[in-house]
């Protein structure tokens, strides 16, 4: 039991952290919420601000441009995280096999994780460069394309190219989590199944995969939360273009704020995005909690 002095201390020890977080996150969140009900604009001279109720939300929810941006964000998130999951598992299964150079390879794949997000974006932009880029040259020399292409200058390929760059940077995290989980799969179980005549694929499907599903789910939900707020890589690689084909929700709101200076309207989009994120965060906690409680499914 805690004494009274200790109960007081409990809060005193927490106070600085609560103060910092309130100041930098809670107050701005409340402020954004307030702004979303107003017609505030970013102006050099203070202009009168009107409370306009749900008007921004009614506009936002029927705005086809915002819907398109949300749809693109969804596409980016699902494809990125999906590929990271598949690649992550495949890499983990590979690194769980004994072979020469295994430890070196396991160390090597931390590098994409360590590369700063912006450097990753810049590097891939150079690789995709339409006139002198490495991807064009490589595919041309392999005979796979006959003409150089504008990979991120073409609306039909731009988003997938950004996704490839994002997957390269983020698959290591999933791979490390999957590998850590794989190393806890009991060998006896796999051996017994092999003796019973189960094929490798069957053993993987019905023993390995369910065993690692818990931690894998948690890390993929975490990646989903991160991918959903994607901004940096888009800003550097495509600035939302070409023809808005990579304009995701965060980038859309960024423009609403800092290009069009409509802070009230922008705030309503931001609140909507925050709401979706809040749902994802709740999913994350319930998945993480179940995982901590020792569930494997």
């Amino acid at each position: 039991m805690l004494g009274r002095r200790q109960k007081q201390e409990k809060w005193m020890l927490l106070a600085p952290a609560m103060f910092v977080l309130a100041l930098i996150t809670m107050v701005p969140l409340a402020n954004t919420l307030w702004l979303s009900f107003t017609d505030t604009r970013i102006t050099a001279i203070a202009a009168p601000v009107h409370f306009i109720g749900l008007e921004n939300y009614i506009y936002a929810l029927t705005d086809p441009d915002f819907q398109a941006a949300l749809y693109r964000t969804l596409y980016f998130t699902i494809v990125s995280v999906g590929l990271e999951g598949v690649l992550g598992i495949a890499v983990a299964v590979l690194l769980n096999q004994p072979f020469r150079g295994r430890l070196v390879l396991r160390a090597l794949i931390i590098l994409p994780w360590a590369v700063p997000t912006i450097v990753n974006a810049v590097a891939w932009r150079l690789i995709y460069q339409p006139d002198y880029g490495a991807l064009n040259s490589l595919l041309y020399q392999l005979g796979l394309i006959s003409d150089y292409r504008s990979w991120i200058g073409d609306p039909s390929t731009a988003m997938n190219m950004v996704i490839l760059a994002d997957v390269w940077k983020n698959f290591p995290l999933v791979a490390y989590v999957a590998l850590a989980a794989l190393q806890t799969v009991p060998d006896d179980l796999l051996k017994a199944a092999a003796i019973e005549g189960a094929s490798p694929w069957k053993r993987f499907r019905s023993i390995t995969l369910p065993w690692i599903a818990g931690p894998l789910l948690v890390v993929m939900v975490l990646r989903t939360i991160e991918a959903f707020r994607v901004f940096d890589i888009i800003y550097v690689m495509t600035s939302g273009g070409p023809a808005d084909s990579t304009k995701t929700a965060s980038f859309f709101i960024y423009q609403e704020y800092f290009n069009y200076l409509r802070s009230g309207s922008g705030a309503s989009y931001a609140v909507l995005v925050a709401g979706i994120s809040a749902v994802l965060i709740l999913v994350y906690y319930s998945a993480a909690k179940r995982q901590a409680a020792g569930g494997t499914a």
């Binding site: 996150t25 701005p28 360590a114 997000t117 690789i127």
Partner: protein
């Protein structure tokens, strides 16, 4: 289980593909940074440089050079920002972590802390921008330090709490019985034992701050506060005709985190795995 020859070949083939996929882009970035400018504009490309050209690194490290001044001030700002934020985050996180671990502060509160930084920064950006603007705090390193400290705080608390949880509680209790204050116990008993955990937390925090772009983009606008990620985005967006310059800045910005990541691989990987799975 023994593998057949075919299976072995398959394993090595996959390993090779993974190595190429992982190292390829980085290797190419490094090669670009030391290629002759004309090699980089050949069609198709000259993959092996005709001659090595290290002059771009020389220019980047030279204050008298235009790009060098940009790079060096961004490097200084990044070190100050990430270092300052890490120090403040730890200073605030350790007592909080102790409260969660030993004073039974509610875990719901810790989850709420973590939730605040999992939200998209776009939700916080405008009010912060307005506030810093009216306080005259835009384009200042100290502003980024405060924002980054808040951003690092929840994860630092969580990591420190997990580590304090496994420390033996008996010594602390003995110290408290003897009449030592909590502050004294924290400083003299807990901190020395938690030193490895503090180092690991500090390193991960530093790397996260080193990587941050969005807040830095909005809150800074010139050499006095711009960090490396913003400077690199500038380099890439600017009218640089030599792609090797952009590549060399990228290599320089990658070196510190890459060296840390390789050197402390075990530390980092276990921190990452625990951090992302155990919630």
């Amino acid at each position: 289980m023994r593998r057949s020859l075919l299976q072995s070949v398959l394993v090595y083939l996959c390993a090779l593909m993974l190595a190429v996929f992982t190292a390829g882009p980085l290797l190419w970035l490094a090669v670009m940074s030391v290629s002759m400018p004309t090699d980089l504009t050949e069609v198709p490309l000259r993959w092996i440089p005709s001659d090595l050209d290290f002059s771009r690194y020389g220019a980047l490290l030279d204050v008298a050079d235009g790009s060098g001044r940009h790079f060096l001030s961004a490097l200084r700002n990044s070190i100050l920002t990430a270092g300052g934020a890490t120090a403040i985050a730890l200073l605030v996180a350790i007592p909080a972590a102790y409260s969660f671990s030993r004073r039974k502060a509610s875990m719901v509160l810790l989850f709420a802390f973590l939730a605040t930084i999992m939200m998209p920064p776009i939700t916080y950006i405008l009010p912060l921008y307005s506030a810093f603007s009216s306080l005259g705090l835009l384009n200042k390193t100290v502003t980024l330090v405060i924002v980054y400290a808040a951003m690092l705080l929840p994860f630092a608390i969580w990591l420190m709490k997990a580590n304090i949880d496994v420390l033996p509680v008996e010594v602390e209790q003995a110290a408290l019985m003897e009449g030592a204050s909590t502050a004294f116990t924290l400083r003299k008993v807990v901190l020395p034992l938690a030193l490895p955990a503090i180092a690991a937390t500090a390193m991960l925090s530093f790397l996260v701050a080193w990587d941050e772009f969005f807040y830095a983009l909005i809150f800074t606008n010139d050499l006095s506060a711009k960090t490396l990620p913003v400077a690199i985005a500038d380099f890439a967006a600017g009218r640089v005709t030599d792609y090797g310059v952009i590549a060399s800045v990228g290599v320089m910005a990658t070196l510190p985190p890459a060296i840390l990541a390789i050197a402390f691989q075990k530390f980092i990987v276990s921190g990452l795995v625990a951090g992302s799975v155990k919630g």
